[in-house]
Symmetry: D2
Subunit: 339 residues, 4 copies
Amino acid sequence: MSTMQVSVLRGVGQVDVEERPIPHPAADEVLVEIGSVGVCGSDVHYYEHGRIGPYVVDSPLVLGHEAGGVVTAIGAQVTSLEVGQRVSIEPGVPCRHCPQCLAGRYNLCPGVRFFATPPYDGAFSQFVVMPAAFVYPVLDSISDDSAGLLEPLWVGVWACRRAQLAPGSTVLVTGAGPIGLITAQTARAYGADAVTVTDVNPHRLRLAERLGLGIVDVSQSTLADAGIEADVVLECSGNARATWDAVSTMARAGRVILVGMGGDTVQLPLAYVQDRELMITGAFRYANTWPTAIQLAASGRVNLDAMVTGHYGLHDVEAALTASKNDPTTIKAIVRPGE
Amino acid sequence: MSTMQVSVLRGVGQVDVEERPIPHPAADEVLVEIGSVGVCGSDVHYYEHGRIGPYVVDSPLVLGHEAGGVVTAIGAQVTSLEVGQRVSIEPGVPCRHCPQCLAGRYNLCPGVRFFATPPYDGAFSQFVVMPAAFVYPVLDSISDDSAGLLEPLWVGVWACRRAQLAPGSTVLVTGAGPIGLITAQTARAYGADAVTVTDVNPHRLRLAERLGLGIVDVSQSTLADAGIEADVVLECSGNARATWDAVSTMARAGRVILVGMGGDTVQLPLAYVQDRELMITGAFRYANTWPTAIQLAASGRVNLDAMVTGHYGLHDVEAALTASKNDPTTIKAIVRPGE
Amino acid sequence: MSTMQVSVLRGVGQVDVEERPIPHPAADEVLVEIGSVGVCGSDVHYYEHGRIGPYVVDSPLVLGHEAGGVVTAIGAQVTSLEVGQRVSIEPGVPCRHCPQCLAGRYNLCPGVRFFATPPYDGAFSQFVVMPAAFVYPVLDSISDDSAGLLEPLWVGVWACRRAQLAPGSTVLVTGAGPIGLITAQTARAYGADAVTVTDVNPHRLRLAERLGLGIVDVSQSTLADAGIEADVVLECSGNARATWDAVSTMARAGRVILVGMGGDTVQLPLAYVQDRELMITGAFRYANTWPTAIQLAASGRVNLDAMVTGHYGLHDVEAALTASKNDPTTIKAIVRPGE
Amino acid sequence: MSTMQVSVLRGVGQVDVEERPIPHPAADEVLVEIGSVGVCGSDVHYYEHGRIGPYVVDSPLVLGHEAGGVVTAIGAQVTSLEVGQRVSIEPGVPCRHCPQCLAGRYNLCPGVRFFATPPYDGAFSQFVVMPAAFVYPVLDSISDDSAGLLEPLWVGVWACRRAQLAPGSTVLVTGAGPIGLITAQTARAYGADAVTVTDVNPHRLRLAERLGLGIVDVSQSTLADAGIEADVVLECSGNARATWDAVSTMARAGRVILVGMGGDTVQLPLAYVQDRELMITGAFRYANTWPTAIQLAASGRVNLDAMVTGHYGLHDVEAALTASKNDPTTIKAIVRPGE
């Protein structure tokens, strides 16, 4: 077998499958047969709009960056992995030479090559090659889907780490999509005493409740009415109004982590930010989060499988993207390239 | 009733009960009828040696500083508490005017008045008066003994806070006495992935196991043999050898919090501290830890009642101190002044 | 002499002098004869609008909070000060009992009593009484005017402290008013390698240059054209456009401290804040900055006297306010109540 | 010309010059003609003892790691440097793949290859090849000797950075050797208000004075008598007694950075470390310090040339090592391989 099937985005709303040669791993790389790939909001956005901000799909692009699988070949110098190991893939490879990389902020590396971000192909593909240093073995207790969903968990760990979360914190997570639900569980694992999730989608709120999280349906109640005064806001909605409202009810010296992507502008209540000395920061992907995330998933402190609401083959990627966009009951669609 | 019974340390090894007038709370104070008081190692040390470093018992001293009880009277200006409330007492009252206090490090206030530290009397007493600001209401889910044992939990929270503990950390707690066992549980609540406790006392190690903690009996195995390489060492033994051994097996950039009190000198492996850039700091009492600790105890994340191995009346304080000192099965003796 | 003259704001645009009894210091207070008081933008704002946000002047108010003078009487318990000492006054007295105070963030104390903030009178007055703990002796090398202007220097120190400024940082200060010019000098004293100040007022930019600071006249050049890519932005203009422009040219992992007060809303470029993981925070007054500030002023690292462009007697407060508001050559007007 | 001269340490006390081929730079490397190399205490230690702790000289070793020079050839992929540029060399090349490197702590990389640390050769050599990423162009205002002495300045910057130095700090530097004198100047550039250096060598103390630093001759006066109560101790002596004495006089919440290398053990006053919550940490080399250091040297805030007390050719390396060891007037000996 020397070719593989790959799902390709050709333009706005145009996805089909093509045959490509299976790549060979270089000396420091491994070949991974992809088992499960989560569909992310950014995949949907590229499918719908053909771009995200400055990143424009101007040639065929393979989507998908929440990927797990099995190692099927290793390069000559690879000692950290073996053929047959189940793995999770960190989808961004930084340059490791620039000031950001040397300072430990490799997520801010201007030269990073990141899956499914033009011009770099992603993981809606039967196989991918990756540097071994960004492929992590996973324990048996982590399911195939969860191996892929470690990626959004890295996002959650990064948000909690930047928020310096610890016991004693009251946390508000705005938005009960996959990132919000995973981040909220992560916040609880960091010891937060009260973690509340907001949304207007009853399916998502119900899942939040099943996961043991506090909820506020912001179509029914304001945060103030719900008695929320958070020390930490983990903004996962990308919604301007939700951001404003959350910040406007925070406790003194609170921290806001902007995880959700939305418009070009964020508006904040200035006097509130000043008088209470709120700290606001963006979170961009993650760095050095994988060992923590693997522990959180393996110990069951974060339930990733609970996110999964549907599975799709490589020929059904369009259906997976559409469901993610339109179906209010879809939380996380999974693409299984081998099925 | 205008008098109360108080247990007084008169000199080395000399404790008896005397009658004293019940104090009246000043305008900003409350009167607390003491329910439970834990016996701390420092109480035992004063009983046995008549001093701790520069603190010398040169006049009669009431011991006991891990105290909970019920508010029985309140000063004219007190609005934060009501008569009848079950409370936990923070036993140190800082000056709130010095640079340390203004900087939020009130535990380092040189003018602090701390229970059972000469010349300030403690809580082996039927009643005490305290500024209302240092008396905290406790939830019904916290037992009387636990109301007192919130004090050593403040120590544990402070140690974890100074260690900046979070998921992803491997933690070694040296010493499975009450402080060690409480601190280890606290570390777990902070999200530490692996928490191991060391001791040589099988009773203590067994309790650690029952609490779900990892253990190493260092009379049987070295830390290296046990495969321990901690990111964080919470030193709760006060033992010089345990400190040296723990520091000598740490991971790079590890943090050591010196909680246990022991000799005049701590010896550390210099090249190891330098080559791995270990960070070592002392922890002295605590500051601003009470709301976190109440949450940890009320939610069951830290089990304080499991520490309790015996109860003693005010006339049996000497027995409580002796058991704490000599009986290997005693973990935490509780004095109940009202019984 | 038992009465003193006080300048009172009676309503929008209405200031006059009245006679009041000289107050007596309580046991922990001192009486200070005011030498110099800087006119602050907030004084001008109250004079012009009768309010700042929620703070409304609904009864006569004494303005002025940048005050220095000489101790003329001390309370019975005061040991830190003597009659005749030249002093600087910290104009806010926090409660020292709330969680913010106990955590060392007394600037966020909800119960603070702050000079010239309704309903608390300020320092355009011949005498004031203050708790001794908030009155600091100044060295002979600090002029009378500088003793008052230590207050805006506390603002600058707080901004630099929150920005964690150190050598290696490139700093942009937006706005060359007194706060901007003092903060920029403070940034240099913190070791920042390049400190650039922006404004459109040529008088202010010229003073910035005389102080050895880099300048950009943003009416003539964009920040991008001027080649500015700051690690730290100290926003001292309160201008929405200046804020947006400054944030939009920052380096990765940059920090923005919002010092200047302006509209109700701050708009920030969201993708930029996220992709570069900028950190934005408000600065509200200051806490524990006085010893640092006194050193910076006494050593000449920050030149406060250079700010002073005019002196006014107590009967000329209106002229001082008007010049501060309307005269482009006025940087800092000083009121001398004794002249 | 295809060969060069290299000074080689053959065993304890045995140094001679040999001819070696001039190396060729790989694609990402540059060839540097060495101009000046500072003699470091570690060079002297290898010369005298043939080892430093676990690092044993068991085959010929080229010493010297404080090196500057001129680029004479560049690899095919190098774009950051040009032939003819004056440069400073960072003498350690980390792996950039391990967890320490990815976390930004590349100084703790277990796989680092560091000049003059067995088995890696150093810079007492006419030429060396280095990855371009660790070779930095220097401004004309930096002398040849200073280009080499940027290396000890990186040590000083790292120490101050770990100490979180800023205005308001009182700093004690123990040991007035080259590292102490450079670190003390760096501390001043970080804004420290008082920087005092201790030693017993009058030549060194005199130089400290000329550099404008405070001094205490600890053969004449105790720190306590000298009124020293430091917030930060930068331990540069490697002397056990100096460390103990310095720590024993510190202010509450002080920080101690252990820079100097000495015995196997560091002894600290335990009660003092605990009661004052001192923070002690080792400093190991440095990471990401070069842009800051270049600024400090170029602006004259740190005077490196003042350290230089003698120059030696490649055939006089033994004399340079001996002077560094035995001559009390030698502060920093410089080897100039081209002379």
